[in-house]
C-alpha cells in the first residue's frame, strides 16, 4: 500500500503574519488615512496566524482548509469510488515556451490536475490557494518518483492579454533549478477566441469585474474549480475551495490507481445482498468508518411490475382488511396511474422533485439520510419523512394527525413551499394536463374525467393503499403458528412488549392482526425537548461514515434556516393541552425507516427503546403512559430484536415494482403508459 501524505508544511507565511500582527498591534505610526487599511490588514493577518484553518476569525472571514491540515480524517484510499464525471476536453493552448500544444499533451500519459488562473488574482482563497496546494503536491512528487510518474499539474491562464507565454515561462522557472522541473506546467492561449471554447468545455464562467465607474478592472469573477483528469481523459473529481487540499487529492489519486489495478484482474461481481428486503440502501452502522454500503447501483437495480392490487384486496399475514373509502376506485389502472404520479419529478415547481424523493422505497418509503426532510431547492422541512408502508391503515395522517384521507392529504406536500413547492392546485392540474404521457389515463379510470383535484388525490391514494408489507417473521410466528419463524429473543421481546415495557398500550396488537399503532396522539416529550433553547456552542455534523466535524452553531445558523418551532397537535386544535402531541407511528417495517421520532432525533431502534426505558422526557403534559421501565440491558436487546423481526416478506416485491416505475423526466417519450411496462423490467 502506497501512502502519499503531505506532511504538515507551513501555512502561508504563518509565523511572519503573526509577527506582523503583533507589530501593527502596538504601533501607532499609521497616518489616519490608513486606518481602514490597517484594520483590514489585521483581519487577514489574524486569519493567517490562526493555526486552525477553516476556523472563523473575529471578522467572520474564512481561510480555505487547503492552507493547513484537515480537521477530519481523510477517507482511506480505495474505500470509495470516483465515477467519471464526463469527458475532459482537449484544446489548443500555448505552452510556457511559446509553442502551440494540445492540452492533452500537457496532461501527460497519466493523471492530471487542471486549474485555471490569472496572475493578478488577489483573492487569498482563489488562485493563491490553488498555487499553494499545487506546490504541496509538487513537493510530494519531488519526493516520490511513483507519484511523479502518475501526475501532472497544469495551470492554464484565462487572461491571455496579460498572461503571455513569457510570463508563463517565468512561472515555470520557479522549478527550473529544483528537483522536479517538469511536474507543474503553465500554459496560456493566444487570445480570447482560443480561450472561450476551453472555458465553456470546463464550465468555467469567467467574467471581468467592473469598477463602480463601469470600466473593466484586472479582476475576474470566477468560481474556483480544479479538475482531476484520468488517463482516458475523463474528469474524476472537481475540487472547490472547501475540498482543494493536497491530502484529499492524493487519496483520490491513490483510489483511482487502486481501482485501475482492480479492473485489470477483472471486475468483482456484486456481492450477495444480506437481509431479507432486497435491493436498496442500508444505513446501519453508517456512523462508523468501517461502514460499507450495500446499495445497488441504479443500473443493477431490476425493476419488475407486480400486481399491487393483491396487497390491498388480500393483505399479507398479520394485517386486517384494508379500510377502504367506498368511493375510491382501486383497480390495476388507478394504482398504476397513482404510481406514475408518485414517482414523477415533474409534479414539483422546478420539475425535479417527486413524492418518492422523501419517501424513498428502498429506505422504508421514508428517508434514512435525513432527520428532517428537505424539499425542493434544499428547503428545510421541520419533520421527519414518515414511512408510507401500511399507510392504508392510518386513521390519522401527518405527524400531527391533521388529515384522515390519503386522497386529500396528498395535496399538502404538493403545495408546501418547502416540499414540492407548487404554487396552486390549478398549477398541478395544468402541469399534468400538459404532459402528453398522461393523455387518456385519467379518463380511462375516472369516467372520462380530465385530471382534477379529486382524481389526482384518488390515484395517489390508490397506489399508497397497496404499499402493505407484513408476513414478517413475527407474523409467521404469532399469527401463523410457526414456532421456528423467530428466535427466543424475539419471543421474549414480545412478552416485554405486551407486559413490562407496556409498548402495546399504543402500538396495538390484537389476536387476529397487528397494526402496531393506535393512531392516537401522545406527548412523549420529544417535541417538548426540541422546543427548549439549545445552547450548545457546537453541533456535530457527520460528513461521511466515521467522519464527524464539530461545526460552530453560529456558523450553522449563518448558512442554514432554523427549523420552525413544532407544537404538534396544538397547531391543529389550539388546545393548550395538546401541545407536543404527535401520532403513534406503526412499528411494522420500522427497522427500515431510521431515523426515528417526528423530528428524526433518534438514530437507532436501540436509542428509541432506551428513550422509553427512561420514561420519555419529563414535561408538564407528558403522557401518563410514559414512566421509567427499569428494563435490563438484555431486555432492551430483546425489544430491539422484536422490532427487527417486523419487516414484511413482500418488501422486495414492492421495491422491485417501485424500481420499475418511470420517474417522469425521460424527455418526450411516453414511458410506461398505463404503468405496465417498466423501465428496468
Amino acid at each position: 500500500m502506497i501512502t502519499w501524505r503531505v506532511w504538515k508544511t507551513e501555512a502561508v507565511h504563518c509565523n511572519t503574519a503573526r509577527r506582523i500582527s503583533l507589530q501593527t498591534g502596538c504601533r501607532c505610526g499609521f497616518c489616519p488615512a490608513n486606518f481602514r487599511m490597517l484594520r483590514r490588514l489585521l483581519i487577514i493577518v489574524v486569519i493567517l496566524a490562526g493555526t486552525s484553518p477553516g476556523q472563523v476569525c473575529a471578522a467572520g472571514e474564512l481561510i480555505a482548509p487547503g492552507y493547513g491540515t484537515l480537521d477530519y480524517v481523510v477517507p482511506t484510499a480505495g474505500s470509495y469510488a470516483l465515477p467519471p464525471l464526463g469527458g475532459a476536453a482537449d484544446a489548443l493552448v500555448v505552452d510556457s515556451n511559446g509553442s502551440e500544444r494540445q492540452l492533452y499533451q500537457l496532461f501527460g500519459e497519466r493523471y492530471a490536475l487542471l486549474s485555471f488562473m490569472y496572475s493578478s488574482c488577489s483573492d487569498v482563497n482563489g488562485c493563491p490557494l490553488t498555487a499553494h496546494v499545487f506546490y504541496r503536491l509538487q513537493r510530494a512528487m519531488a519526493q516520490n518518483p511513483l507519484l511523479a510518474k502518475s501526475l501532472k499539474l497544469v495551470s492554464l491562464s484565462f487572461d491571455p492579454e496579460h498572461d503571455t507565454p513569457q510570463n508563463m515561462h517565468l512561472y515555470a522557472n520557479n522549478f527550473r533549478h529544483t528537483d522536479a522541473p517538469d511536474h507543474w506546467r503553465f500554459a496560456t492561449t493566444r487570445n480570447q477566441q482560443q480561450l472561450a471554447p476551453i472555458l465553456q468545455a470546463y464550465s468555467q464562467d469567467v467574467q471581468q469585474a467592473l469598477a463602480t465607474n463601469g470600466l473593466p478592472t484586472t479582476d475576474f469573477y470566477h468560481v474556483l474549480r480544479v479538475f482531476l483528469i484520468d488517463p482516458q481523459r475523463r474528469i474524476r473529481n472537481i475540487y472547490s475551495v472547501s475540498f482543494l487540499h493536497a491530502d484529499l487529492i492524493l487519496a483520490d489519486l491513490e483510489t483511482l490507481l487502486l481501482q485501475e489495478r482492480g479492473t485489470q484482474v477483472g471486475r468483482q461481481p456484486p456481492p450477495e445482498r444480506p437481509g431479507s428486503f432486497g435491493p436498496g440502501d442500508r444505513k446501519q452502522g453508517y456512523a462508523r468508518a468501517d461502514y460499507r454500503t450495500d446499495s445497488l447501483a441504479l443500473q443493477n437495480r431490476e425493476g419488475q411490475v407486480t400486481d399491487l392490487l393483491r396487497y390491498a384486496s388480500n393483505p399479507p399475514l398479520g394485517l386486517p382488511a384494508v379500510p377502504r373509502p367506498h368511493e375510491l376506485v382501486l383497480s390495476p389502472a388507478s394504482i398504476a396511474l397513482g404510481r406514475k404520479l408518485f414517482f414523477d419529478r415533474r409534479l414539483s415547481l422546478n420539475k425535479t422533485f417527486s413524492c418518492a424523493m422523501c419517501h424513498v422505497p428502498e429506505q422504508g418509503f421514508a428517508n434514512n439520510e435525513m432527520a428532517t426532510a428537505v424539499g425542493i431547492e434544499g428547503r428545510s422541512v421541520r419533520r421527519n419523512a414518515p414511512s408510507l408502508l401500511n399507510v392504508a391503515y392510518a386513521s390519522r395522517l401527518f405527524h400531527d394527525g391533521r388529515e384522515d384521507r390519503l386522497s386529500q392529504q396528498v395535496w399538502a406536500p404538493l403545495l408546501a413551499a418547502n416540499e414540492m413547492g407548487n404554487p396552486s392546485i390549478g398549477y398541478v392540474i395544468n402541469t399534468i394536463r400538459s404532459l402528453a404521457d398522461y393523455d387518456g389515463l385519467f379518463a380511462a379510470v375516472y369516467d372520462a374525467q380530465q385530471p382534477g383535484m379529486q382524481n389526482i388525490g384518488d390515484a395517489l391514494a390508490a397506489y399508497q393503499m397497496t404499499l402493505n408489507a407484513a408476513d414478517s417473521p413475527f407474523d409467521r410466528w404469532y399469527f401463523g403458528g410457526d414456532a421456528q419463524a423467530v428466535g427466543a429473543a424475539v419471543k421474549h421481546g414480545f412478552e416485554l412488549f405486551r407486559g413490562k415495557a407496556g409498548c402495546a398500550s399504543c402500538h396495538t396488537v390484537t389476536k387476529d392482526y397487528a397494526l402496531f399503532s393506535d393512531y392516537a396522539m401522545h406527548n412523549t416529550g420529544v417535541g417538548y425537548l426540541s422546543s427548549q433553547v439549545n445552547s450548545a456552542a457546537t453541533v456535530q455534523v457527520q460528513l461521511a461514515p466515521g467522519v464527524f466535524v464539530d461545526v460552530q452553531r453560529e456558523v450553522l445558523e449563518r448558512v442554514g434556516e432554523p427549523l420552525a418551532a413544532d407544537l404538534g397537535l396544538y397547531e391543529i386544535t389550539e388546545n393548550p393541552a395538546d401541545r407536543w402531541k404527535f401520532k403513534t407511528p406503526t412499528l411494522r417495517n420500522v427497522a427500515l425507516s431510521a431515523p426515528y421520532m417526528h423530528d428524526g432525533s433518534l438514530t437507532s431502534l436501540r436509542e428509541v427503546v432506551e428513550f422509553y426505558n427512561r420514561g420519555g422526557i419529563a414535561n408538564p403534559l407528558l403522557d401518563p403512559l410514559l414512566r421509567p421501565l427499569q428494563l435490563q440491558e438484555q431486555e432492551v436487546d430483546a425489544l430491539v430484536a422484536l422490532l427487527q423481526a417486523l419487516n414484511g416478506s413482500n418488501l422486495p416485491v414492492l421495491l422491485r415494482d417501485a424500481f420499475a416505475a418511470p420517474v417522469g423526466d425521460t424527455g418526450g417519450a411516453s414511458p410506461a403508459k398505463g404503468g405496465q411496462r417498466g423501465q428496468g423490467s
Binding site: 507565511h13 493577518v45 493578478s120 506546490y135 503571455t164 512561472y171 470600466l215 478592472t217
Partner: protein, 188 residues
Amino acid sequence: MSPGLRHSGCVLLLCCLLQPWTMAIAGEGVGAIPLIDQDGADFRLSAVHGSVVLLLFGFTHCPHICPLEMSRLTAALETLESRGQEVKAIFITVDPQRDSPAVIKSYLSHFHPTIIGLTGMPGNLDAVTDYYRVKRVQAPTTQGSYLVDHGNSLYLLNAQGEPEALVPPGLPSSHIVNLVAALQEHTH
C-alpha cells in the same frame, strides 16, 4: 561545461527566441529610469544590478494581497539574512497618487528593514511596470476611494536586472529562499 552553465545557455537562447526583455525599452534600459525611494532620494534600478533582486509591485492601500505578499517577502528575507545570502528586495508602488515617499516609508516600517520602496513620476513608473508587464488598473470603490488592481506575483531578477522567475502568491516563503539560493548558485 557545468550543468548549470549549460542550463543558463539554454535559457539565454530561449529568451532570444521569446523577444528579449531588453527589446522592450530603448537606450540604457529600465535600469536608467529615474525613480524616488522612500527617503525622497533619486533611485535607479541599475543601482541593484549585480545582485539578485526580489521585486514586488503593490500599493499601501491594498487591503488583502499586498500585506500577505510583503509578509511572505519579509519571512524569506529573514531566512536569507540569517544564512548570510545577499539579496536586494524592492517594493514599487502602482499608486503614485497616494503613495508618497513618506507613506511608503511608514508602510515599510512593518516589514523587513532592508526592503527598498520606490515611487516616481507617473510616466516613469508606467515605463517600469510596462517593462515588467505588470498590469494595473485603477478601480474606483463605492466608498469614493479606489483600489489599483495589479499583477501580484513576486519577480526574481538576476544580476542583470532581468526576470528569472515569477513566484505566484500561495507558494511559501521557503520556496523563495530556495529559488534565490538556486539562482545564486547557478550565477556563480
